[in-house]
Symmetry: D2
Subunit: 364 residues, 4 copies
């Protein structure tokens, strides 16, 4: 594989550049008989869509997804599902100034060296615009997981720079433009972002995503553990620099007697593990956190280099999110959904005959 596919049984392959004609993907392995239409995907696409608030890029894209195959009379047929989104608001001229030089902190230099040429318009394939198709594919997985197994997946912004959520109120998340779960911090967020935009700088963020009602048994030892594949999927989102499962880096200073989740016929007493034991889902909620770096597309001048290897100074014009973490929330949900969907199908393949005497437990 050359890297544009993810999954083994539920396989998502994407194409498309920031300023190309269209974005698209193929979903291969979706079970037949699932009711599916464009609206099922549009809802999440709209959550990720640019131009929806003054905290995100001013680029306006309808991001209207079209189903080209794999659905007949409203139901998936089991054959490959082709999806496409036409690009509409490209304004390539914004990017002509970066044609011959590399933006520090961007993929410009690495693409140039790997491929010998690059589509410099808006970052081409390295643009976060590509994630629109992940969100569309993730919505298909989400719908199947919810309908067939009652699995819920919810993400939220747990920190924006110095501002952390002190409480997590999921009902609040969809009520504000930050996907922030703590209403008491909304004013602070608003002030912070205003000052940030004035300074022309950007800021990092922490995004959390949780899946509930995940059946016990998903995940394949030893390399394709559920946590390993979640880490792969989440670290593969643009700008992510860290992934945690459950307590994550807090475990460094935990004792075994603190960390281990005690269990009884009534269920697990805690969830330090984040829902995964030995790489296999335990029935506890699956909890993951990711660190999103601040975008390097800022109007603060920066030392750089030209394609020919001369010194230069870069000031990124164009339209950019001051905090890419905000729009990463639906993307993280989508990636977790794709991984769970893939492992659900993988689990079935090998373990269809399994009958365990042991009662299934959840959280107390």
């Amino acid at each position: 594989m050359s890297g544009n596919s993810i999954g083994q049984n539920f396989v998502v392959t994407t194409f498309g550049e920031s300023h190309g004609k269209a974005l698209g993907c193929i979903i291969d392995g979706c079970p037949p008989g699932l009711m599916l239409n464009e609206a099922d995907m549009q809802q999440d696409l709209d959550r990720r869509r640019p131009g929806t608030s003054r905290y995100t890029t001013a680029r306006r894209e309808a991001d209207e997804v079209q189903i080209l195959s794999g659905v007949f009379e409203g139901k998936t047929t089991g054959t490959s599902i082709g999806l496409v989104i036409q690009n509409t608001d490209q304004r390539s001229q914004d990017y002509s100034n970066i044609k011959d030089q590399f933006r520090p902190g961007h993929a410009d230099y690495t693409y140039q060296q790997k491929y010998g040429l690059r589509d410099y318009r808006g970052g081409g394939r390295s643009s976060a615009r590509e994630t629109a198709m992940r969100v569309a594919a993730g919505a298909v997985a989400k719908k199947y997981l919810k309908q067939v197994h009652g699995i819920d997946i919810h993400g939220y912004l747990s920190a924006l720079g110095p501002i952390e959520a002190d409480k997590v109120d999921l009902a609040q998340v969809e009520q504000n433009a930050f996907f922030f779960p703590d209403a008491d911090k909304l004013v602070a967020l608003d002030d912070y972002m205003r000052d940030l935009k004035k300074s022309g700088d950007s800021i990092g963020a922490k995004v959390s995503v949780v899946a509930t009602n995940v059946p016990v048994g998903l995940g394949e030892p030893v390399f394709d553990r559920l946590d390993a594949d979640i880490a792969h999927a989440l670290m593969g989102i643009n700008a992510v620099k860290g992934v945690e499962i459950g307590d994550g880096f807090e475990v460094v200073n935990q004792k075994g007697s603190e960390h281990r989740d005690l269990m009884s016929p009534q269920g697990f007493a805690s969830n330090h593990a984040g829902g995964i034991l030995g790489g296999i889902s335990s029935g506890q909620p699956i909890v993951a956190h990711i660190a999103m770096k601040p975008t390097s597309s800022i109007s603060v001048p920066g030392e750089s280099m030209t394609v020919q290897g001369e010194e230069s100074e870069v000031v990124t014009k164009g339209r950019h999110d001051p905090c890419v973490g905000i729009r990463a929330v639906p993307i993280a949900e989508a990636m977790l959904a794709i991984v769970l969907m893939d492992h659900l199908l993988r689990h079935r393949a090998q373990n269809a005959d399994v009958h365990s005497e042991t009662p299934v437990i959840g959280m107390r």
Copy 2:
């Protein structure tokens, strides 16, 4: 795939249980002509080997690896390399007490539910003993990377519970039983571990691994980014709960103007990115950190459940590491080597014709 393989062009597939007859692996895709013998692997195996210090399990295993195929007259032939390590010191009786109940924080429960049965002897396939074959396979990758590209891979213990390394002296790492890079903390570590063993408890740790001289261009957008595959490989190590690339979770509170690594014809001015931009290696050192949970195999009693679903109390006997992070250092090195090797071969496949006009830069 059912999860016991990693890689696409340099593929490592392992087998073996903690108390089975033997551990083994197949390396498929090693280039021909590499000088290789058992000693090349034994060195790293000895670094991971149990029973080498009073800080690790008392289990004694020679961990002698044998090459069964793929090497002829001292050179790899390009065909699949079969490796095997016989198990010698099993003492299964130590584990009879956990046959009918689940150890909290272990994979016992999830394996039972996934497969309907489990090899309870020492955790069977879920035991960290399986990582011996990863270290052997990683040593092959390390040798090739070093010989053909001058790539160096070094790991160390950056924190053990509350004790963090204030300085990183790689020369020091192999001089102590902790793989610790800060000699000033060795006495503190010694005291801490003595008290810990007395208490019968365990502690978490942080492990860091660095690769230098990695050529620019390794990594495949969009899903198989180099950082995504490193996250997959490192999160797939037993007991890992978090993975960071470069600044990792520190980016949450960084500004774009702080984080981005400025560049010039003289090289990169900093390495907040940890050597990866847009999922592709930049030529900067690749830096990753992992969080290792404290082992749940402790003699502190814990509430649990039997296979039949009744309440029980578990006290883990047997021989265990109070800090599994220590022996994880060579494992993390091996996994990073395997990922880099795989991506080096993948990169060649597609990009053999590429010639870039842009000069390659490193760190200033």
Copy 3:
């Protein structure tokens, strides 16, 4: 994978039904820097296109392919290439009569049982219409193979029912609507097809495909031999029931002294092997033959069954090729090109360092 992808380093994934909105594919792994535009694909698409002669289906499709991504300023960028062909002439009403019953010899029954539902319009995903995208993807592989390695791939119809080619004149192949290499048989073919259409029946065919200038060394032992992957790719074409490499089934009654191709510094003396030894290309021309069954879409009534399981009689209306073998010629070329392209990239990955002292030989 769920089966809609082929290849490991040059990966082609397709979607689309006979009467859906569009057909499409993603090519993942095409090297960067290849000059590519729609015209490069259109030529082969036109050779496969229906409605071009009175010997093929009357369905008229422009089969105009559009590049949606992966090409910038006329060159491939190394990122995934998205291709789409809109369906135009669908006339679904032709197929309403088969909605509730199964056409004998077709995939109707197996799709119904596998998926529980099916897109019955023109066979949906099982229609040979899907092969249009294979031809488009194959054209990309063909162009790269020709440009970078001088590899030529040519197919022809070696037999149509009882009429076999007595000589193979490649210059003749593109001069007639049958892709037939023996001009002396054209009148006989014409007469045969006229009578066949009158009878409302169909006929089988044999297609041959040859690749020249293939470098020695392509193919991976032991399972992914070049001949094994060619067999996989060619048997995967609709209606193919047999695949031969070189002498094929003639070897059953050959002696070792007859079959083996003697060799000398001047080259191979013969090519019974069809260009592959031990699963690896030898530098001799690669020669493969396929058997194409007669289409089951005929107007001769046939005993069948309804979806509900009652007896019925089927007469296939609609527009069909009396000999699907004719249009299979460009498809077979495309599949061979895709396999060679994939193996060329695979070979590079592992064997970039290889230097052999032995001189390369071809045919004498």
Copy 4:
């Protein structure tokens, strides 16, 4: 992948050279709970084993397989199964004469050019000895298929050179050293082989393999059709030059009205399709045929070339089968079993929810 693995959900990866220390394989994806021991594999290994009759090589190998992992208390655990067979009767000196020259019709030349070096002892990795592990892995698949689905797989020699079986009596197959289904031809076979050995030459053969009770629905459109994967698996057996499904090359001169298998609620009226429609199993018996070339290891002198590129003459000494087709019977059965097993698991992954109203039919 570098080619030593087959399958996606039931994955078999092999290693080992003809004259190396051992052969081995890893089976990844075998469902848990299957009763399994060495004897289950030994039976088929003995059928393939050399030195069992005067018609096969005189090399004597016990071919005793050992299970190293994946089985606990007599049952598969769902983890990877490690198998190994020690080589015992190597007599490398037999092969010293081919160290510096290439045997015509063998892989010597292609391996040398691909890898730059080769294990010349008995052909190294290219030796049919490697197939022992396929037979072992196939026996595991066979046992599961039989036990869980009642699927039977039987192979036989349908032709040895000019001598064809006029009738197929499966009960007869295991009664003679030729796996021949027609007792009336045994004397003729005996005479033919005696003369052949005198002449120092070898002969080709045709092998047939049949699977009955295969459920409808196995196979994944469009590239991983069941017939395509069977062709891949069978063409991947050493010395195979052709693969047929059902009527195979006879379809070239069949009419649609002859070929299509009529169907009714009572079942299929015929089986020209060989049990596969549109790449998916139909419930009819699956029938495949392969053409085996005569081995090139004969004592008839042949023109060849040295590693340095000089002219030479080769006379293959050593111990060889005059007809490799004979021992290919259990190998073909094993490969078909592995493919069916893999597709059975793949089918489950995506289609676990499917319920079809249509009654399942078999043959009348």
